[in-house]
């Protein structure tokens, strides 16, 4: 996993609440057995009509958000199914950072495992960013070490993140590798609890 320390990128607003993972990546695309290539199906039925043509009013189809790498959305983003294909699609499409008032637990966890920073900001802050992102070329800079997001117009959002996911993201750790350094402890637990 790639470390994420600072990131500067174009902001794309998605002004919807309770965006579920069925919308992020519809079920017909869950049959692949690879981790890659899901970006083309991101928000598939919101991005494309029944004939496969892009819907012009959907932000991800707007030319001014081409190459956006920061997604801003409404509360409870990523609710529903645990499918990790959702963050895979978000990432494969080019997003490295998400900003929303709240996230579903499993989705947020899945983001960390893939090096995506899911920032929690207040509803007012998210609204302010959404409005600014209406203008062409609006970018934000994220500094994970300092836990702050800012633009060149004086907007500054401090955010909270627990120490463990922060370290995971900053260092791009392979979590299984870390856990296996505790193998003795796992062996001991199994011995005491009579696991085979």
């Amino acid at each position: 996993m790639e470390p994420l320390r600072t990131h500067k990128g174009l902001v794309c607003p998605l002004n919807r609440t309770n965006v579920d993972t069925d919308q992020i990546i519809p079920k017909q695309f869950l049959k692949r057995i690879e981790r890659s290539g899901f970006g083309q199906f991101l928000f598939y039925h919101w991005r494309f009509d029944d004939n496969g043509n892009p819907r012009p009013d959907f932000p991800l189809n707007d030319a001014k958000y081409k190459d956006a790498s920061i997604l801003v959305a409404g509360e409870n983003f990523g609710c529903g199914s645990s499918r990790e294909h959702a963050p895979w699609a978000v990432q494969d499409f080019g997003f490295k950072v998400i900003i929303a008032p709240s996230y579903a637990d499993i989705f947020k966890n899945n983001c960390v495992k893939n090096g995506i920073l899911a920032i929690q900001a207040s509803e007012e802050q998210v609204q302010a960013i959404m409005e600014k992102a209406e203008s062409e070329g609006y970018t934000l800079t994220v500094n994970l070490e300092e836990q702050v997001v800012y633009d060149h117009e004086g907007l500054e959002v401090k955010f909270d993140i627990a120490p463990y996911p922060k370290q995971m993201l900053l260092n791009g750790w392979d979590e299984i590798g870390v856990t296996l350094t505790y193998e003795e402890k796992i062996n001991h637990y199994e011995l005491v609890h009579q696991q085979p």
Partner: protein, 472 residues
């Protein structure tokens, strides 16, 4: 004297492998359930890093999401077939027991775990599926995980988890006649929203919960995730123990009584406190129908579809407007006036024998409306057999239902059971998200009884009055 603890804290503490200040705990996992959709990339990860499965005998796999329900041996979709074949190869390579589509234990992962007695009180249970919360009905700490975590559990039999906050969902009194566990959980989500459980593990308590059967408890715990909670559980009691007695994977004879004695100790201590409490009066719950595009958008069968003007926040107004548009409904119309063209009875929420029995009671001697296509998909192969032994298949078929093979089926339409744009379905599943049952299809979540009544009437109908009527 020890501080009183909740069952959640007790199970947690029993499973901590490594605890360090400022870090999540390393939690031991007692049971890992695996299915074909969320596991291929995890096994591939193991292979790429030269890792093995640490505890193959704490791991159990099934095929459910892609399984056809007509001729289950003929998988027309090659991509589905590849995914199922991949699971088979992975289970062979890593030494994991698999109930494939030809196996008598096959069924929906959250149906067969309890059926086989793999699900037990006090266990930590995970699966790459958000409805793993179902197993909480037994007093297990069970939650859904992503594929990276699936790989982590396969390799280490552990997970890094921050201790959750605890939420007591207290249901007082008793449910009225014709009101089901499905109505109860929908009403709870309707009242408190789709994210009140986020960050929490819920414990369902109160007299109405105690009165539920195991299968009804599974329906309630199943939908904890629709309230945002990764896990929801119920303290085990006599109902739990009697359900488990004699099942294949539980201890037998003397050992079972010893296990029960241990399980009893899991009960939340008197005086234990939760981080939050919500309460609901069971008697106030009516049969529910969802009108919108998330499970929180639900109303009693006696009510009218809401209007955007009822919302205060702009984002809520927009959400209601969008949902009405997608669902093709008018604000203010009675939900009972909504006509349907499909009925789906099945899913890990409502596909167990008691669900099928109750639905069969409603339709016995009646006919499915000519405008409706109705299917029943039992949760497992063994439920299908048991139902056939009682003649339920005949009741359904006589009424005009299609009687299918087991699987996840139209809950998420990954197999051939998929609706067309504009189709409207009364469904006993758990999610009414846009496109869940097919692109452009409209899902209304209901109980099996309500689904059966709607199948006959051709529109939503209050099952309490419906069953009182004579069969005509």
């Amino acid at each position: 004297m020890q501080t009183p603890k909740t069952i959640i804290q007790k199970i947690w503490e029993q499973h901590v492998v490594q605890h360090e200040q400022g870090k999540p705990d390393l939690l031991y996992i007692d049971l890992h359930l695996v299915h074909e959709v969320t596991s291929p990339q995890a096994f591939e990860g193991l292979r790429m890093n030269g890792r093995t499965v640490r505890q193959p005998n704490l791991t159990f796999a099934t095929m459910d999401h892609n399984v056809p329900t007509r001729e289950r041996h003929i998988i027309k979709d090659q991509v589905s077939k590849t995914q199922m074949d991949t699971l088979k190869h992975n289970c062979q390579e890593f030494g994991i027991t698999l109930a494939d589509i030809h196996h008598p234990d096959n069924g929906i992962v959250h149906v067969i775990g309890p059926e086989l007695g793999l699900t037990q009180p006090g266990k930590t249970i995970v699966c790459g599926d958000s409805h793993t919360s179902t197993h909480g009905a037994f007093g297990a700490l069970a939650f859904g995980i992503g594929t990276s975590e699936v790989e982590h559990v396969l390799a280490t039999q552990t997970l890094w988890q921050a201790p959750p906050k605890t939420l007591n969902v207290k249901v007082n009194g008793e449910l009225g006649t014709g009101v089901t566990a499905k109505d109860l959980i929908l009403a709870i989500i309707g009242k408190y929203g789709v994210q009140f459980g986020t960050g929490y593990v819920m414990e369902y308590t109160g007299t109405a919960i105690r009165a539920l059967s195991m299968e009804e408890r599974m329906t309630v715990c199943n939908m904890s995730i629709e309230a945002g909670a990764r896990a929801g559980l119920i303290t085990p009691d006599e109902t739990t123990f009697e359900y488990l007695r004699g099942r294949r994977h539980v201890p037998q004879g003397e050992a079972f009584e010893e296990a029960v004695a241990k399980w009893r100790e899991l009960a939340t201590d008197e005086g234990a406190t939760y981080d939050a409490v919500v309460e609901i009066e069971a008697a106030e719950v009516e049969p529910q129908v969802t009108w919108g595009t998330n499970p929180g958008m639900c109303i009693p069968i006696t009510a009218n579809v809401p209007s955007p003007t009822e919302a205060v926040k702009t984002s809520k107004k927009d959400e209601i407007t969008r949902a009405l548009e997608y669902m093709g409904l008018e604000a203010g119309q009675p939900i009972s006036s909504v006509k349907i063209d499909h009925v789906f009875i099945g899913s890990c929420t409502n596909s167990r024998l008691s669900d099928l029995r109750k639905a069969a009671e409603v339709i016995r001697g009646r006919k499915v409306s000519h405008a409706v296509t109705a299917i029943v998909v039992p949760g497992s192969f063994s439920i299908k057999l048991a139902a056939e032994k009682e003649g339920l298949d005949v009741v359904f078929k006589d009424a005009g239902f299609e009687w299918r093979e087991a699987g996840c089926s139209m809950c998420l339409a990954m197999n051939d059971d998929i609706l067309s744009p504009g189709d409207r379905c009364a469904s006993t599943s758990n999610r009414n998200f846009e496109g869940r049952q097919g692109n452009g299809a409209r899902t209304h979540l209901v109980s099996p009884e309500m689904a059966a009544a709607a199948a006959v009437a051709g529109h939503f109908v209050d099952v309490r009055q419906f069953t009182a009527q004579e069969v005509g």
